[in-house]
C-alpha cells in the first residue's frame, strides 16, 4: 500500500495509534452500507442456504429437516446428471473457443492503425450491449433450421445445414456459436494487454530472426498471459452459470411442448427446482454442489496458472 508510510516516519507511536482509532471510527461509517449488506444479503443467505439444503422446503410450510437426503437424491436424479453433462460440455467447448476467438480478434485489431482499431473495437463491443433475452430470440431466428440466416448462408455454399434449434445434437453448438458473438469485452481486455507489450521485445526477436509465429508464441502470449488467464477464469465461472440465452430460447411457459433436454444447463434446472417446482431445499443443495464445482475448478486453474502465467518482476 502506498499510503501510511509517510505517517510512520513523522508521527510518534501513541499519536499514530490515536489517529488510527479515529480513522477506524470514521471508516466504520463509510463501510457501514457494505457491512450491513454483507450480513443481510451474503453471510446470512450463505448460512441459511446451507441449512435449507438439509431440509424439504416449499415456502408455504416450514422447512422439515431431512439430513443429507437432498444430496443423495441429487446424485441419483437423471436430470441433474443430464444438466451437469450439458454444462460441462458447454464449459469445455465454449470457454477455450471463446478465449481463442477473443485472442484472434485482439491480434487482428492490433495490426490496424490506431484510429481504425478504435473504430473496430467499438463495433466488436456492440453485441455486448444486446440484452441476453434479445440474444436468445436472435438465436432462435438466425439458427432456425428451415429459414434461418445461418442455414441460408450454408446453403449458398452447398451445405445442407442442420435443424439447429430442434435437433438435440445441434442445440448446444448453436448456443455456443451464439455466445461467441459477445466476445467484445474480452477482445478489449486482451487488446489493452497487447498494447502494453514493449515493442523492444519484438525488435530484438526480429533481429534474432524469429518469425511471426515464434514472436506470437514466445513473446506475445507469455507477455499477455495474466490477461489471458483472467479472461479464461472469469469466463469459466460465467459459463458454469450460463442461464439467460438458453432459458429464453428453450424454456418458459409457452415452451413445454417439445423436449429441450439438450439445453438444460445446471443453472436452468436449479432455477426450475427453486422457483417453478418450489423445491427450495433441493435447489439449495444443487447450489452448494455448483459452488463446490466452481471452487475446485478455479483452484485448479490458479494452481496451473502459477506455472504458466508470466508476471513481470516475479521471476
Amino acid at each position: 500500500m502506498p499510503t501510511g508510510t509517510t505517517d510512520r516516519r513523522t508521527t510518534t507511536r501513541p499519536a499514530l495509534r490515536r489517529a488510527r482509532r479515529r480513522d477506524a471510527r470514521a471508516a466504520l461509517l463509510f463501510l457501514s452500507p457494505w457491512l450491513l449488506g454483507f450480513a443481510i444479503f451474503t453471510a446470512w443467505p450463505v448460512l441459511y442456504s446451507g441449512y435449507l439444503s438439509l431440509t424439504d422446503y416449499d415456502v408455504l410450510n416450514d422447512p422439515s429437516f431431512v439430513g443429507l437426503d437432498n444430496y443423495r437424491e441429487l446424485f441419483e436424479d437423471p436430470k441433474v446428471t443430464l444438466a451437469l453433462r450439458n454444462t460441462f460440455f458447454y464449459v469445455a467447448v465454449q470457454v477455450p473457443l471463446y478465449v481463442l476467438v477473443s485472442l484472434a480478434l485482439a491480434l487482428l485489431l492490433n495490426t490496424a492503425s490506431r484510429r481504425s482499431a478504435g473504430f473496430f473495437r467499438t463495433v466488436f463491443y456492440l453485441p455486448n450491449m444486446t440484452p441476453p433475452v434479445a440474444v436468445g430470440v436472435l438465436l432462435l431466428l438466425v439458427f432456425n433450421g428451415q429459414n434461418g440466416l445461418i442455414n441460408e448462408l450454408l446453403g449458398a455454399i452447398g451445405i445442407d445445414g442442420p435443424a439447429w434449434t430442434t435437433d438435440p445434437d445441434w442445440v448446444k453448438p448453436a448456443i455456443i456459436l451464439t455466445s461467441l458473438w459477445s466476445t467484445g469485452s474480452s477482445v478489449i481486455i486482451l487488446f489493452a494487454a497487447l498494447r502494453n507489450v514493449p515493442q523492444e521485445l519484438y525488435d530484438a526477436a526480429r533481429v534474432d530472426g524469429a518469425n511471426a509465429w515464434q514472436r506470437l508464441v514466445r513473446i506475445t502470449v507469455p507477455m499477455i498471459s495474466p490477461a489471458l488467464f483472467f479472461v479464461f477464469v472469469v469466463n469459466t465461472i460465467a459459463a458454469f452459470q450460463t442461464f439467460t440465452e438458453a432459458y429464453t430460447a428453450f424454456f418458459g411457459s409457452g415452451n413445454t411442448t417439445y423436449s429441450n433436454d439438450a439445453a438444460l444447463f445446471y443453472a436452468i434446472y436449479l432455477f426450475q427446482q427453486a422457483f417453478e417446482f418450489l423445491n427450495m431445499g433441493y435447489a439449495s443443495a444443487m447450489a452448494w454442489v455448483l459452488f463446490v464445482i466452481i471452487m475446485v475448478i478455479t483452484a485448479i486453474q490458479l494452481l496451473v496458472s502459477r506455472r504458466l502465467v508470466y508476471l513481470e518482476g516475479d521471476q
Partner: protein
C-alpha cells in the same frame, strides 16, 4: 449484493492477487499510446495490410449483421419476416404500432427505466462510500476486510438466490420492483473494487490539505474526492445501468403480474405467447426485441469511450 455474473466486468482472482502483491495503483495510468506510435504497422507489406483490413471488415459485418437483420425484420410485414433480405421488400411500420396494442410496452419501458435509474444511482453512491472507506482510512484488519469484499465476487449467485428471495418474500416485496434494485443500497463488490483503485490513484496531499483547512470527513469525500472520481463514477453508472436493464433472472423470480414486468421479462412473455404459444407472430417478438435493445445501443453511443475504458481497466488491473 453480488450482481449476477457478467463475463466482462467480473474481476477477481487475478485482480485480488494484484492488490495482494501491492501493485502501485497508479501504474496503469501510464498510457501506452506513446509506445504505440512506434508500432511496426507502417513497415508491414501492403498485401498484409489489405488482408488484415478485409478480415477486420468481415468480422465487423459478422458482429453487426444479426442486429441489422433484426432491425430490418421488424420493418417487414408478417409474411416476409423470414426472407433474410437486408432491405425489406415492403417497408412497413405496422409492427411498431401493433406491438403497443399487443403488450403494455410503455409500462414495461417505464418500469425498466425506474429500476435501472434507481439501481445505477444507489449502487454508485453506496459503492463509492465503501470504496472511500477502504481507500482513505487506515485501520486494523483493512486488508482482510477488503479481501472479504473481493471474495464475495467468487460466490455464485445461486447460493444466495433462494434466501434472498425469502427475505424479500417475508417483506412482502415479491411482485414489486423493489427487489430488483434495493440490494444496491449496500454497494456491490466489483464497483467497490473499481472505485477504490481510482481513489488510491488520487494524490493524498489534496485531502490532507483540505483537512488542515478544516474540512470534515464527509466534505472531503463528497466535495473533493467524488468530483475527482467522475470518470470511474460514470463507468459504474453505465455498467450498472446496462446490468439492470438487461437482467432477466431477477424479474423472472420476483415479478408475477404483467403490469409489473421489466422489458426483458416482457419480451420473454411475448416470446412465450407469440413465438412458441401457437400464435406464430414472430414480427411482434422481433419488434419487441428491437425496442428492448435500442436503449442499450443509444447508451453505448453516448458513452462508448467509458465502456471501452471501463472494460479495459478491469483486465489490466488484474
Amino acid at each position: 449484493m453480488t450482481a449476477p455474473l457478467r463475463a466482462p466486468v467480473q474481476p477477481t482472482v487475478a485482480a485480488a492477487t494484484s492488490t495482494a502483491r501491492g501493485d502501485d495503483p497508479g501504474r496503469d495510468a501510464h498510457d501506452p499510446a506513446a509506445r504505440r506510435e512506434r508500432s511496426p504497422e507502417r513497415r508491414r507489406p501492403l498485401a498484409v495490410r489489405i488482408i488484415t483490413t478485409v478480415l477486420l471488415l468481415a468480422c465487423a459485418v459478422v458482429f453487426t449483421y444479426p442486429f441489422l437483420w433484426l432491425l430490418s425484420a421488424s420493418l417487414k410485414p408478417r409474411g416476409e419476416v423470414f426472407d433474410n433480405r437486408l432491405l425489406p421488400e415492403t417497408l412497413t411500420f405496422e409492427n411498431y404500432l401493433d406491438v403497443w396494442q399487443e403488450a403494455p410496452m410503455l409500462l414495461w419501458l417505464g418500469n425498466t427505466l425506474l429500476v435501472t435509474v434507481l439501481a445505477a444511482v444507489t449502487v454508485t453512491v453506496s459503492s463509492a462510500l465503501v470504496a472511500w472507506g477502504f481507500a482513505y482510512f487506515r485501520f486494523r484488519g483493512r486488508g482482510a476486510l477488503f479481501a472479504l469484499v473481493l471474495a464475495t465476487m467468487m460466490l455464485p449467485g445461486a447460493v444466495t438466490m433462494i434466501p434472498t428471495f425469502l427475505i424479500w418474500n417475508s417483506l412482502g416485496a415479491v411482485n414489486t420492483l423493489t427487489p430488483l434494485w434495493a440490494g444496491n443500497l449496500f454497494g456491490s463488490a466489483f464497483y467497490i473494487f473499481l472505485l477504490r483503485q481510482f481513489f488510491l490513484g488520487l494524490p493524498r496531499e489534496i485531502f490532507e490539505a483540505a483537512r488542515v483547512d478544516g474540512a470534515n470527513n464527509w466534505r472531503i469525500f463528497w466535495q473533493i474526492a467524488m468530483p475527482l472520481t467522475r470518470p470511474a463514477l460514470v463507468v459504474t453508472l453505465i455498467f450498472e445501468f446496462q446490468t439492470a436493464w438487461t437482467d432477466l433472472m431477477r424479474p423472472l423470480i420476483y415479478l408475477r403480474d404483467s403490469d409489473k414486468f421489466t422489458i426483458p421479462r416482457g419480451l420473454k412473455s411475448l416470446l412465450d405467447q407469440f413465438g412458441f404459444g401457437g400464435e406464430w407472430h414472430w414480427e411482434i417478438v422481433i419488434t419487441a426485441s428491437v425496442l428492448t435493445t435500442i436503449p442499450m445501443i443509444v447508451l453505448f453511443f453516448l458513452a462508448q469511450r467509458h465502456f471501452v475504458e471501463g472494460v479495459a481497466t478491469t483486465g489490466t488491473k488484474g
